[in-house]
C-alpha cells in the first residue's frame, strides 16, 4: 500500500536537498547574488508563494475548528486533527521561509520587542507567530496519543475549544491584514486586482480555498494510504487500489466518509460563490470592468484565475455526479487551491511589479528554495501521517510496511540492490546525488556572468558629446548624473584626467571605469593569464612547436610551483604603459579591480569630502548631490540649484 508513495517521496527529498543547498547559499552569499530581486522589486517568490499563499492554504485549521467548535457540526470531527496539523505545518513553513526572505535573518525576533503598531506587517507578524503557537498547542494532544500519555491528552483535548477560538480570531485578523498590505499601494497594483475590499477578499478566498485544500489532502491521503473510507470498499479483502502489476483496481461504491466530504465541499463552494459574487460586483462598482474587457494579458489572467479558483470548483460540486465521486471532488479541490495560489501571485507579484522597470522572474535558487521548503513540509506531514494519529485513530492497526531488507550479494557493487528498500539508504543516496548537483547548479561564483544585474554597463551619454554622463552600472534605476565635462574644466582640463582615471589598459589613455570595474558588487580579476601567455610568447620571440610553453619562466620563478605569489610583479613590465609611472611601490598588485559601486563611491566621495570642507559647502558630500533620483522632487535638491535658497536653508539649519 505504501509503495505508491515511494517515488513521490524520492522527488520530495530531492527537492528538499536542492532547497537546503540554496538556503545555505542564500545565507552565505546574500540575497543580492542568489535572487533576482532588486531595489525596485523588494519581494519575490518566497514572500508571496511560501508565506502569503502558504498561510492562506493552511486556513483549514481555523475554518474546520470554527465549524466543529463554534457551529457544533459534529460531522467534521475526523477532520479536526488533520486541519490543525495542516495549519501547524503551513504556518511553520511560512515563518521558516520568511527567515530566508528577510535581509537580516538573525534579527527576526525584533518585532517582539520593538513595537510599531502602525504597521500592517507588524500585525501580521504578531498574529502569524501567535497563531503558530496556538496550532502547536492544539496539535500536541495527537503527540501525546502517540506516546500513550492519555491523561495529558485528555486535558489538552479539553482545552481545544479555547485554543480554537483564539486561533479563529488570530487567523481572521492576519488574513485581512495581508490584504490590507496591498491596500496602501493603489498606484502600484493593477486596477483589476486593486479594490478597497482587498482585506475581505483575502479572508473569504482563504476560508473557501483553505477548506478545499483540506479536502484535497483528505482525498490524496485516501488514495495513497487508506482508500476504503473514501473510495469505498475494495473488491477483495485487504486488496489495494493498485495491484502488484500496476493495473488499477476499481473501487465499488463510495466510502463512509464521502457524505462528510460532500458537505464540506458544499460549504466551501458557497463561500467561494460569495467571493465570486463580491469580486464581480466590485468590478462594476469600481468601474474597473473596462480593464476586464480590454483584452490585455492581465484581463485574461484575471479571468483564468477566477475560472479555476471559483467557477470550476463551484460547477464540479454543483453537479451531483461529480460531487459524489472522489475524483470529481479532488479535481474541484485542486482547482480551487491552485486558483488561490494564483490569486496571491497575481496580487503580490504579477499585478504588482508592473512599473518596476523589468520583468521579475525568480532565479533558480529562488525556485529551488521555494519548492524545497514546500517539499520538506510535505515530508514532515507524511511523517506525521505515518507515525501519529492524524487522519484516523486506527492507524496503529494498519499494516505499516517496514523497509524490507533484501540480502543482495551483488558481486559488483553490493550497494544498489539494497538501496531501494531501506528508507535511510534511499534518502542518503538522494542526498549524495542532489547536493553536488545543487552545488554546481547554484554555487553563485559559477554563474556570475549570467547574472546580468551585477554586470556593469557603460555610462549613458546624456548629450551627443557625452558632456554629461548618467552612471547606472547595473541599470536598476538608481543612477547618478555626472557632469563629466564640467568636472574636467573645473579641475584643470586635460591635465586633470589622472585625478580619477588612475589606471589604463596597456597602451590606452583614460580607460573608462567599467572596463576594469566590471562587476557591480564584487571584485573582478582583470589579469588575463591566457592573454599574457600568448603576448609574452610574441614579444619574447619564442618559436617552435609549443612557443607558449616556454613563457612560464618569464614570469614564474623556475623550479617552483607556479602560483600568483611567486610570479613577477605587474609593474616590472607595465610601469610605463598603464599610467603608473609615479608609483614607487613596485610590488603593487593590480590584478583585481574592486566592485564598480565601491570604485565610484570611493573616488567621488573622497574628493567631495575634501571639497566640502575646503569650500564650506556641507551639502556637497551628501548622497542626493549625485543620486538625484533618490530624493522626492520637493526636497532640498531643487533648492540646491538656486544658490540663494541654499543659503537660506543653511541659515535655517544653523539657527535650528
Amino acid at each position: 500500500m505504501r509503495t505508491k508513495i515511494y517515488p513521490i517521496k524520492d522527488i520530495l527529498w530531492f527537492l528538499a536537498f536542492l532547497g537546503l543547498m540554496s538556503g545555505i547559499f542564500r545565507m552565505w552569499f546574500g540575497l543580492g547574488v542568489t535572487t533576482n530581486m532588486v531595489d525596485s522589486i523588494p519581494w519575490g517568490l518566497w514572500k508571496i508563494l511560501n508565506m502569503v499563499a502558504g498561510a492562506a492554504l493552511a486556513t483549514s485549521g481555523f475554518t474546520i475548528g470554527m465549524l466543529y467548535y463554534v457551529f457544533r457540526i459534529k460531522l467534521f470531527k475526523p477532520l479536526v486533527v488533520p486541519s490543525v496539523v495542516i495549519a501547524f505545518l503551513g504556518y511553520g513553513s511560512s515563518l521558516f521561509s520568511l527567515l530566508f526572505d528577510i535581509g537580516l535573518p538573525w534579527r527576526f525576533w525584533i518585532p517582539f520587542v520593538s513595537w510599531s503598531p502602525h504597521s500592517f506587517l507588524y500585525e501580521v507578524f504578531w498574529c502569524v507567530s501567535l497563531y503558530w503557537a496556538v496550532t502547536a498547542f492544539e496539535f500536541t494532544p495527537s503527540l501525546f496519543d502517540r506516546f500513550k500519555s492519555e491523561k495529558a491528552a485528555r486535558i489538552l483535548h479539553g482545552m481545544g475549544f479555547g485554543a480554537a477560538v483564539l486561533g479563529i480570531s488570530l487567523s481572521s485578523l492576519h488574513h485581512s491584514s495581508l490584504g490590507s498590505l496591498f491596500l496602501v499601494t493603489p498606484q502600484r497594483l493593477f486596477p483589476l486586482w486593486y479594490s478597497s475590499l482587498l482585506p475581505l477578499f483575502f479572508i473569504i478566498s482563504a476560508m473557501g480555498a483553505g477548506m478545499m485544500f483540506m479536502l484535497l489532502l483528505r482525498i490524496l491521503y485516501a488514495h495513497f494510504y487508506d482508500p476504503e473510507p473514501v473510495f469505498g470498499p475494495m473488491p477483495k479483502e485487504g486488496a489495494i487500489t493498485c495491484s502488484l502489476d500496476g493495473t488499477p483496481v476499481k473501487a465499488t461504491g463510495s466510502g463512509k466518509d464521502m457524505p462528510m466530504l460532500e458537505t464540506l465541499a458544499i460549504i466551501a463552494v458557497s463561500i467561494l460563490g460569495v467571493y465570486l459574487a463580491l469580486k464581480i460586483s466590485d468590478l462594476f462598482i469600481n468601474g474597473s470592468w473596462k480593464y476586464l474587457t480590454a483584452g490585455t494579458w492581465e484581463s485574461w489572467l484575471y479571468i483564468f484565475e477566477l475560472l479555476i479558483g471559483t467557477v470550476i470548483p463551484i460547477l464540479l460540486v454543483a453537479l451531483p455526479k461529480s460531487r459524489r465521486s472522489p475524483t470529481g471532488l479532488g479535481i474541484a479541490a485542486l482547482s480551487a487551491s491552485a486558483g488561490l495560489v494564483l490569486n496571491r501571485l497575481d496580487v503580490g507579484i504579477i499585478g504588482y511589479f508592473r512599473d518596476a522597470g523589468f520583468v521579475y522572474f525568480p532565479s533558480f535558487s529562488e525556485w529551488t528554495l521555494c519548492l524545497g521548503i514546500i517539499s520538506a513540509t510535505i515530508l514532515v506531514f507524511l511523517f506525521f501521517v505515518e507515525n501519529v494519529s492524524v487522519f484516523d485513530e486506527n492507524w496503529k492497526t494498519r499494516h505499516v510496511a517496514k523497509g524490507i531488507f533484501s540480502g543482495s550479494f551483488d558481486n559488483l557493487t553490493h550497494v544498489l540492490k539494497s538501496v531501494l528498500s531501506e528508507t535511510a539508504q534511499r534518502v542518503t543516496l538522494i542526498a549524495v546525488i542532489s547536493i553536488p548537483f545543487a552545488w554546481i547548479i547554484q554555487y553563485p561564483p559559477y554563474h556570475e556572468s549570467k547574472n546580468d544585474a551585477t554586470i556593469v554597463q557603460p555610462s549613458i551619454g546624456l548629450d551627443a558629446l557625452r558632456k554629461s554622463l548618467r552612471i547606472d552600472g547595473n541599470r536598476d534605476g538608481v543612477f547618478a548624473d555626472f557632469p563629466h565635462y564640467e568636472h574636467q574644466n573645473r579641475l584643470g582640463g586635460e591635465e586633470s584626467c589622472n585625478n580619477c582615471h588612475h589606471l589604463f589598459l596597456p597602451g590606452d589613455k583614460s580607460t573608462p571605469c567599467f572596463r576594469c570595474h566590471r562587476n557591480m558588487l564584487q571584485s573582478t580579476l582583470i589579469f588575463d593569464h591566457t592573454l599574457h601567455v600568448s603576448a609574452v610568447a610574441d614579444s619574447e620571440g619564442f618559436s617552435g612547436l609549443h612557443p607558449e610553453n616556454y613563457t612560464c619562466k618569464v614570469c614564474h620563478t623556475e623550479g617552483s610551483v607556479k602560483t600568483a605569489s611567486n610570479a613577477k610583479s605587474c609593474l616590472e613590465c607595465h610601469n610605463r604603459d598603464m599610467g603608473l609611472a609615479d608609483v614607487k611601490d613596485s610590488s603593487l598588485d593590480i590584478s583585481y579591480a574592486t566592485s564598480y559601486q565601491r570604485a565610484m563611491h570611493g573616488t567621488c566621495i573622497k574628493c567631495h569630502d575634501l571639497k566640502a570642507e575646503e569650500l564650506h559647502k556641507d551639502q556637497l558630500n551628501k548622497c542626493f548631490i549625485c543620486h538625484k533620483s533618490l530624493t522626492p522632487k520637493d526636497n532640498l535638491i531643487d533648492k540646491m540649484r538656486e544658490p540663494k535658497l541654499l543659503l537660506v536653508e543653511n541659515v535655517r539649519s544653523e539657527s535650528d
Binding site: G407, S408, F409, D410, N411, L412, T413, V415, L416, A424, Q425, T428, L429, A431, V432, I433, I435, P436, F437, W439, I440, Y443, Y446, T530, H546, N549, V561, T563
Partner: protein, 232 residues
C-alpha cells in the same frame, strides 16, 4: 579546449569531489547507524581490542599472505602507497588543496613523485596481468575489477605524461583533460564500487559482528553469484 579545461576544473571537479566525499560519508553514517541500531546489543560485548588489532594487522598485510598469491598480494599492497601519497601530496595538487580548502600541506618532491608514479603504474599493470593470466585470480575477477584497475591507471598515466611534456606524444591540453576527466570519473565511481573500501576498510573487522546467517542465506548467495538456473 580552454573552456573544456575550465569546466572540468571548476564545476565538474566540484561535483565529482563532493559526490565522492558525500558518498563515502554516507557509507560511514550508514555503517554506524546499522551497527548501533541493529547490533546495539552485540556491540556492548564486542572484543574491541581484538577488532582494532586485527584491523591494524591488515594495514600491512604481511601476516595474511597466502603462499600462492604472495606476488599478487604484495603488488596490490605496494600499489596503495603511490595511490595514496601521490594524489594527496603532489606539489601541483597541494596548490589545489590550498585554493579549495585553504589547507597548507607538506609536499613531496617532484622527483620522488615521479618514481612513485612509475612504481604505481608498474604495480597496476602487474595486477591487471595477474587477473588476466593467472587462473586463480581470473576465476575471481569480474568486469568491474578490470575496470577499476583501468580507471586507477588512467589518471596516473595521463598525469605523468602531462607533467613531462618531452615524453608526451599528445598535446598538453589533451593530456590534462584526460587526467582531470578520468580522475573525476574515478571519484564518482568510488562510493559505488569496491573502491569504497577507502572508508569501509575500517569497518571491515567490526562487520564480523554482522554475520548472522538467516535460514536460506546460502541459497541467496548462490542465486546472486550464479543466477537461479545454476541451482536447478
Amino acid at each position: 579546449m580552454e573552456q573544456w579545461l575550465d569546466f572540468a576544473k571548476g564545476p565538474l571537479f566540484t561535483f565529482a569531489f563532493l559526490f565522492m566525499i558525500l558518498g563515502l560519508f554516507r557509507h560511514v553514517v550508514l555503517q554506524i547507524y546499522y551497527l548501533i541500531v541493529r547490533k546495539g546489543k552485540r556491540l556492548r560485548n564486542a572484543p574491541w581490542k581484538k577488532i582494532i588489532l586485527d584491523t591494524l594487522s591488515w594495514v600491512v598485510p604481511v601476516k595474511h599472505f597466502i603462499p600462492g598469491t604472495a606476488f599478487f598480494s604484495s603488488a596490490s599492497f605496494l600499489s596503495h602507497i603511490g595511490v595514496i601519497l601521490v594524489p594527496v601530496f603532489l606539489a601541483d595538487h597541494i596548490v589545489l588543496w590550498e585554493g579549495f580548502l585553504g589547507l597548507n600541506l607538506p609536499s613531496i618532491s617532484s622527483g620522488f613523485a615521479d618514481v612513485l608514479t612509475l612504481f604505481t603504474i608498474v604495480c597496476l599493470i602487474i595486477l591487471f596481468c595477474c587477473r588476466l593470466f593467472v587462473g586463480r585470480q581470473r576465476a575471481m575477477s569480474g568486469t568491474m575489477d578490470y575496470l577499476i584497475l583501468i580507471m586507477v591507471f588512467l589518471p596516473f598515466a595521463s598525469g605523468f605524461l602531462a607533467s613531462h611534456p618531452k615524453m608526451n606524444p599528445f598535446s598538453w591540453d589533451m593530456m590534462m583533460l584526460t587526467h582531470i576527466l578520468s580522475a573525476e570519473v574515478l571519484f564518482i565511481m568510488i562510493p559505488f564500487t569496491k573502491l569504497a573500501h577507502i572508508v569501509l576498510f575500517f569497518f571491515d573487522r567490526i562487520s564480523g559482528l554482522h554475520w548472522q546467517l538467516r535460514p536460506g542465506a546460502g541459497d541467496k548467495v548462490a542465486d546472486a553469484l550464479f543466477g537461479k538456473e545454476a541451482r536447478v
